[in-house]
Structures are given as structure tokens and as C-alpha cells.
């Protein structure tokens, strides 16, 4: 019996030590390379299809989103390009190239709107709080918040045991600083999770259209929403989704015209 158990354990260990099959990785690599090749030859539709296949396979990589955004931009689908660049930046806020590309797509959209309507407003950003935490990733904020929070309580715990006055002062100052840092970081985590806002961030990816007052095409217009507009996805009902545009107008539009940035 013992021998059997030992053999089983060895077999399990052997199974664990077998390298993870590289087939899946190779395939992802191949799809990505095909996408790049299609992009470089100017076949943007094929490139988009390849990158979308990666996304559909569960890949949520900023570089894939960047290439996808680039392909949409070259294919003149600027709303979807904005969405892909936003997704890229959600995963890697410090990606300055993606930020430049996003700004480029938004500028192009605004120019077109200005050419068409005579004027255009670029609603690119967001609250002061969001702008403050723009360059810091959620992961970094979370780790720092948790570390500072625990450090704060650890320092509070040891303050009574420090005998020297100067030492106690140092630990107290450290506790105050770590407490403040924890508060700032927690605020950042809350902002990144849209704690203070209704709905989730989304991008309107279709041509400019009116927002309806109800989930029915016969209802009257509540306002206008433009392609590439960053909006809030509030809820969906049937084929319609209720959104709040960056200018603050709340209304309904077809569900497939709005894509949440977070997946």
C-alpha cells in the first residue's frame, strides 16, 4: 500500500515537472505575427480579425490592444481605435505611445466633427481625481495601499513599547505618513474602480447619433453623442443601453454601439 502511494506521489511529481505545453503560446504568437504581417501589408481588416481572435481567446494584453487600436485607426474606425487605446491604457497607464495615439484618434474625430458641424468639443478627460491617478496602475495602488495600511497599524501597535521619546516621535510621524499614504492610495483604488461614479466607463464606437429618452427608437432625443466619446455605461434593456455622455446627458442608444472599456 505504502509503495503504491509512493509511486503515485512520484508519478504526480513527474506530471507536475513536465513543462507546460507550449502549443497554446505558439499559436498566440502565430496569430499575433499574422496580425502584424497583415497590418504591415496594409490589410487592416485581416489584422483586426487576428487581434480580435487573440482578445476572444482571453488575451488582454496592452500591446495587442495597441496594435488593434492602430489597425482600427488605419482602417478609419476611429471610435473602435479609441476603445482599443483606452483598453491598452487601462492595463498599462504609463504607455505614453498609446496615450499619444489615443489623443491622435480623438483629435481626428474632433476635426471631422468640426468639418461636418462647424464646431467640435473634445471630451477626452475626466475628473481631476481620475487625471491625478492616471499614470499609476491599479496594481501598484493596491499594493501600496495595503502595505501602508498595515504599516500604519504596525507602527500604532509599537508606539507604546518604544521607550525613548525621540524614537516614539519618529514612529508616530512614520505612522501619520503611512496613514496618509494609505488614504491617498485607497482613494486612488476607489477612483480606478469608479467607486464615486455610476456605471462603468465605456466608449461610443458608432457614428454620431442622438441619445434617446427611452429604450425605443420612437422616443425623442435627449442629446447627442459623438463617435469615440468616453461615456458611462449605466444599464441595458433589450437591445438598448442607457449611457451618460461625457457632457452629462443621459439617454439610450443601441447596445452594440457602446463598448465598456473594462472587460
Amino acid at each position: 500500500m505504502k509503495r503504491g502511494l509512493a509511486a503515485g506521489a512520484l508519478l504526480s511529481l513527474a506530471c507536475l515537472s513536465v513543462p507546460v505545453p507550449t502549443l497554446a503560446v505558439d499559436r498566440l504568437d502565430e496569430i499575433f505575427a499574422r496580425g502584424n504581417e497583415a497590418f504591415l501589408t496594409g490589410d487592416y481588416a485581416a489584422a483586426i480579425a487576428e487581434y480580435e481572435a487573440l482578445v476572444a481567446a482571453g488575451v488582454s494584453d496592452p500591446d495587442v490592444y495597441f496594435n488593434l487600436g492602430l489597425s482600427h485607426a488605419r482602417a478609419d474606425e476611429l471610435g473602435r481605435a479609441v476603445l482599443a487605446f483606452e483598453r491598452c491604457l487601462r492595463h498599462r497607464p504609463s504607455d505614453s505611445e498609446a496615450r499619444t495615439a489615443l489623443r491622435g484618434a480623438q483629435t481626428l474625430l474632433a476635426r471631422r466633427q468640426a468639418d461636418r458641424d462647424g464646431e467640435a468639443t473634445m471630451n477626452t478627460d475626466t475628473s481631476i481625481l481620475e487625471a491625478s491617478y492616471r499614470w499609476v496602475s491599479l496594481e501598484l495602488l493596491s499594493i501600496t495601499a495595503l502595505s501602508c495600511w498595515n504599516l500604519f497599524f504596525l507602527l500604532l501597535l509599537i508606539v507604546p513599547y518604544v521607550r525613548r521619546e525621540s524614537g516614539r516621535l519618529t514612529v508616530s510621524v512614520g505612522a501619520v505618513i503611512s496613514g496618509l499614504l494609505a488614504a491617498v492610495m485607497l482613494l486612488g483604488v476607489s477612483v480606478k474602480h469608479d467607486f464615486f461614479l455610476d456605471g462603468s466607463p465605456a466608449v461610443y464606437v458608432a457614428d454620431s447619433a442622438p441619445l434617446l429618452q427611452g429604450p425605443d427608437r420612437r422616443t425623442s432625443s435627449a442629446g447627442q453623442i459623438a463617435e469615440g466619446d468616453r461615456c458611462r455605461f449605466l444599464r441595458e434593456e433589450g437591445d438598448y443601453a442607457e449611457v451618460q455622455s461625457s457632457s452629462g446627458v443621459t439617454g439610450w442608444t443601441l447596445r452594440d454601439r457602446v463598448e465598456p472599456i473594462g472587460r
Partner: protein, 416 residues
């Protein structure tokens, strides 16, 4: 300084900062004290063989005291002695483009995959720990299908502890003209190390560049009204200055996963530290309260301890452990007496205990009963027939009765 030293035939690197304060140090030469100033220090790299001369430094010094019309003294002019350096040729075999000193080299392409007509940058970095970085020159061979533009150099010269070195970065823009895979060959730098007198070589790795797309025509087509197919959005007439960047050739293929803040334990983990602190605080407070209570009423605490001992004795009686029964009973009575008399009684002899209890106002009957019980239990612990269950049970009952009796003593008027 009215004459800088001549350095014809040398490449010169100054080793002193351009902006600095002249600070003298004292030096006595043949009994005469002088203030010595360091005017210039440089490294000179000979550029040709033969006898090369470093000229002397010329100085013009105003001597004397005062200023303006009341100035005394005169002007002193001095020129330093020239130095001749004999420069030898590099030992054979001296290949062309050889470098003298110590250096390492590396090369990289900013992208490994590119569209035809797009430029990639080949960067070649040389890190020199000793020697003249400007002496490093690489020539990229012509590669069919690639258009290689003129290189751009960026030099950083350092001289830590007067040892001149630095880095030289050379960048080439390479534009593939036709699709295909291109090999950029390894580039070698022959190095002669004067410290060891030996030749060596540093070389870059071979690099591979993949170009896809259509071949670029070698002649320039005349401009047409129709825009070329596949033109960048950035090139369109109406939107000339929008740049989106280049496609990325590498990805880590990270997948969707819960971020740290989305993990189920993340929120509760913020409660753990304050909860721990609260528990510690409450624990300390409870402990302090218990200690205070105990200090306030030692008599009740002593009675409780005596009862605990009696419980131990009862358990021992059930287990038939006679010695433990009698020991626990004696200890229970002693603890009860300690608490009532507010002093330890365990070390007192029987007469001393009798006297103490008498002084406290305890009745003679109780004193006798107590002392009798102590004596009986002492002797029973070592007598052979005392482990009978009935006897042991009787001892615990007797102990219980005595404890009740002790608790009822009114010692307030009896103390003398």
C-alpha cells in the same frame, strides 16, 4: 595664462572642470615658499607616430601690492618647458580601424519586423573603460535590399580618476526596400591593450530583420492626384500631423485576471490589521481590569484559588491518587487561611498557626478542627491504608466543610 600648451598631433581631453576655483597649496622649493596652482591637466592621445611635442604653458603674473596709481612691483612672464613624446606604431599585425584601450560593444535593432519603406534603427553602443571613444569607427557593409542612411554618433566622454573612457553610440536608419529576411552581420572591433601589450577583438551579435510588404520602386513616380493605396492616415492631406506610432512586434499575451484589488481577500485584509489592534487593546484592557480587581479584593481571589485546589483534590480522589488528594486539601486550606489572615501561613509551625488564628479571633473549636485536619492529612499521605475511596472522599468533604467554615469567620473584632 597667455599661452596654452601646443598639442599638435594629439587628441586632447581636459581632465579639470571648465568652471572651478583656483586653490593654491604651499610648496617650498630650495628654501623659498611658493603658492602652487594647478592650471591645467589633460589627457593627450597621439594621433600619429613619431616625435610629438607638447608645448609649454605661458604665464603672465602681476606682482607687488596695491592697486591703481599706488601699485608697486611689475609683471612677471614665464613659459613652461616643452615635453617631447615618442609615439610608436601599433605592433603587428595592426588591422585597419584598430582601437587602443579597453572596450566592449553591443548592437540592437529597435524592431525586428518592419514594413518595406519603414525605417528601423540599428544602434551600436561601445563602452570604453580606457581610451579615446572617438577612435571607435564601425562601417556597416552594404546589404542588398536595405537602404542604409548615414550614421549618427553620440559620444559621452568620462574620466573617473583621470582615466579617460566613455560611450559612443552610433545609430543607422535602415530602410528595407524589398520584403525578405535580412542578416545584419556581426561587426568586429580589433582592440590593442597597451597595458598588456596584447591584441583582442570585441564583436556585436548577428541581427535579423524581417521586412514584409511590397518592394519599393527604385525610381520616384511622378505625383498623381490619386492617393497611393495603403497610405498612412498621417499622410492624408487634410490630417497631416497625426502620429499613431508603429505596430508592436512583441507581446506577453497576458490574460484577463483579477487585479489585486479585485481579489476576494483584498477588502477583508484591510480589516485584519485594525481588528488585531482592537483585539490586542481589548486583551490588554481586560487583563489590566482583572489585575486591578484582584488587587482590590485579594481575599475573594484567595478563596477562589482554595476552591480550585479542592476541585483538584476531588478529581484526584476519583482517580484514587491519595497523596495528591491530601496535598491538594492541605494546599486548599493553607491558601484559604492566607487570604483570610492576609499573610502567608504555609511556613508556620502548628503552635505558631494556633497563636496566629487565636490572635485573629478564631474560635478554639475551629482552630482545633483545622490543626487536626492538617495532622491527619499529613500522616495519611504516607500511611498504607489511606487510599481507600471512601476515606479519600471523606477527606475532600472535610476540606470542603472547613473551607466553608473559614469563609464564615468574622475576623474584624477578633484581631488584637
Amino acid at each position: 595664462v597667455n599661452q596654452q600648451p601646443s598639442t599638435d598631433g594629439f587628441w586632447v581631453q581636459d581632465l579639470l572642470p571648465a568652471q572651478r576655483t583656483l586653490e593654491p597649496h604651499r610648496q617650498t622649493v630650495r628654501g623659498v615658499p611658493y603658492s602652487v596652482y594647478l592650471i591645467r591637466r589633460f589627457a593627450a592621445f597621439p594621433l600619429r607616430t613619431g616625435e610629438l611635442t607638447i608645448g609649454g604653458l605661458g604665464l603672465r603674473v602681476q606682482t607687488g601690492h596695491g592697486f591703481g596709481f599706488v601699485r608697486t612691483g611689475g609683471v612677471l612672464e614665464r613659459t613652461g618647458a616643452a615635453r617631447t613624446v615618442s609615439v610608436r606604431a601599433l605592433p603587428a599585425p595592426a588591422p585597419a580601424g584598430a582601437f587602443v584601450g579597453e572596450a566592449t560593444v553591443e548592437a540592437r535593432l529597435d524592431r525586428s519586423q518592419v514594413a518595406t519603406g519603414d525605417a528601423v534603427t540599428l544602434t551600436l553602443g561601445a563602452r570604453v573603460t580606457a581610451g579615446n571613444v572617438r577612435d571607435i569607427r564601425f562601417t556597416l557593409p552594404d546589404i542588398e535590399g536595405l537602404r542604409i542612411l548615414q550614421p549618427r554618433h553620440n559620444d559621452v566622454v568620462t574620466h573617473p580618476q583621470d582615466r579617460v573612457g566613455g560611450t559612443r553610440t552610433t545609430e543607422w536608419l535602415i530602410v528595407p526596400q524589398a520584403p525578405g529576411e535580412y542578416d545584419i552581420p556581426a561587426l568586429a572591433l580589433p582592440i590593442f591593450n597597451p597595458a598588456t601589450g596584447a591584441w583582442s577583438s570585441a564583436s556585436t551579435p548577428r541581427l535579423r530583420l524581417v521586412a514584409v510588404g511590397n518592394a519599393i520602386p527604385t525610381t520616384i513616380d511622378p505625383p498623381t492626384d490619386e492617393p497611393a493605396e495603403g497610405l498612412d492616415i498621417a499622410d492624408e492631406e487634410s490630417e497631416p500631423d497625426i502620429e499613431f506610432g508603429s505596430v508592436r512586434s512583441e507581446s506577453e499575451f497576458t490574460r484577463d485576471h483579477d487585479t489585486l484589488s479585485e481579489a476576494p481577500w483584498f477588502g477583508p485584509s484591510f480589516g485584519a490589521a485594525p481588528l488585531l489592534l482592537l483585539l490586542l487593546f481589548l486583551g490588554r484592557r481586560t487583563l489590566a481590569r482583572a489585575q486591578a480587581k484582584q488587587a482590590e479584593n485579594p481575599e475573594r481571589h484567595g478563596q477562589r484559588e482554595a476552591r480550585t485546589r479542592l476541585s483538584d483534590a476531588t478529581r484526584a480522589a476519583k482517580a484514587g491518587e491519595s497523596r495528591k488528594v491530601y496535598a491538594h486539601c492541605s494546599a486548599a486550606l493553607t491558601r484559604a487561611l492566607d487570604s483570610r489572615c492576609s499573610e502567608p501561613t504555609g511556613g508556620l509551625s502548628r503552635p505558631q498557626l494556633r497563636r496566629l488564628l487565636g490572635d485573629e479571633g478564631v474560635g478554639q473549636a475551629d482552630i482545633n478542627a483545622l490543626l487536626t485536619a492538617f495532622e491527619e492529612w499529613d500522616s495519611a499521605r504516607f500511611s498504607p491504608g489511606s487510599d481507600d475511596a471512601t476515606i479519600l472522599k471523606g477527606a475532600t468533604r472535610q476540606c470542603d466543610a472547613l473551607l466553608r467554615r473559614i469563609a464564615k469567620w468574622d475576623l474584624s473584632g477578633g484581631a488584637s
